[in-house]
């Protein structure tokens, strides 16, 4: 008995004898696929964006507090570290945005066949990357 889970898997059958219950495999047994990877990414970006929402409210609170507080907030946002974090949030936002549309379309009953699930997954990744680059080009070059 090398695994602690083995000990928990001892059961009794209806005749009263001991049986070894089957173990479900750990998550890493499964090969990552575009379906499962994009699914967990939706959750991870959602949690990350919740932290981003707190930063958004702090940014608004700084603006509502004083001009000094807001200039500090703007300096933090405009710093190298601030821009890297903001870039990450932009990518997370556009990923969650595009994959959210994919989810809403599934909820409406569209795109359930495996080939279209794979195609929409690829489209979501490309769109998220494209929108992020577009917004940052506008932000850094145009404005």
């Amino acid at each position: 008995m090398q695994d602690v889970r083995e000990a928990l898997m001892q059961g009794r059958n209806s005749a009263g004898g001991t049986v070894r219950r089957p173990l479900s495999p750990h998550l890493q047994v499964y090969r990552p696929q575009i379906t499962s990877t994009l699914s967990i990414l939706h959750r991870i970006t959602g949690v990350a964006l919740s932290a981003g929402a707190i930063l958004l409210s702090l940014w608004l609170a700084a603006a509502a507090t004083s001009s000094g507080a807001f200039s500090v907030a703007q300096a933090v946002v405009g710093s190298v570290l601030g821009m890297i974090v903001l870039f990450g949030f932009t990518l997370a936002l556009f990923y969650h945005f595009c994959n959210g549309i994919r989810h809403l379309l599934w909820d409406a009953g569209f795109g359930f066949e495996l080939p279209s699930v794979h195609r929409s997954g690829t489209a979501v990744m490309l769109a998220a990357a494209g929108l992020t680059v577009l917004v940052w080009l506008i932000g850094l070059v145009v404005l």
Partner: protein, 125 residues
């Protein structure tokens, strides 16, 4: 009429609370609302790049911006609280710990949501 559920099944808890559909539905509604509002938020942050507080005040004093920011913040915090609830329910097994983390998450989301609402209102008026 014959009752199909076992006596134990009826005695334990109240069965389904019929709240699952509501959670699912409002998550989709807030998601739908956030599609245009998220794009508006990105646009606003771009427009307010390097802005001073005076420029921020002028921006939020526009009724459209005040309303859209309020709608954004309310939908955003409602939506994220629903999502984090499911994450907590999925990964925290122990009931006491789950309840503690859930209440802490709700309190945090509520606090920062209200902070954002008050800030937008103060900037708008």
């Amino acid at each position: 009429m014959k009752i199909m559920r076992s006596a134990l099944g009826r005695a334990r808890g109240m069965g389904a609370a019929k709240a699952g559909v509501h959670h699912w539905w409002v998550q989709r509604l807030t998601a739908l609302a956030l599609l245009p509002l998220a794009l508006y938020a990105v646009l606003s942050v771009l427009l307010l790049k390097g802005a001073t507080q005076a420029e921020m005040l002028r921006y939020m004093a526009e009724p459209w911006n005040g309303v859209l920011f309020l709608a954004l913040v309310i939908a955003l915090f409602y939506h994220l609280q629903l999502g984090l609830q499911v994450v907590i329910e999925d990964y925290i097994r122990s009931e006491g710990k789950r309840l503690t983390v859930m209440l802490a998450m709700r309190a945090t989301a509520g606090f920062f949501g209200l902070l954002a609402v008050i800030s937008v209102l103060k900037l708008s008026f």
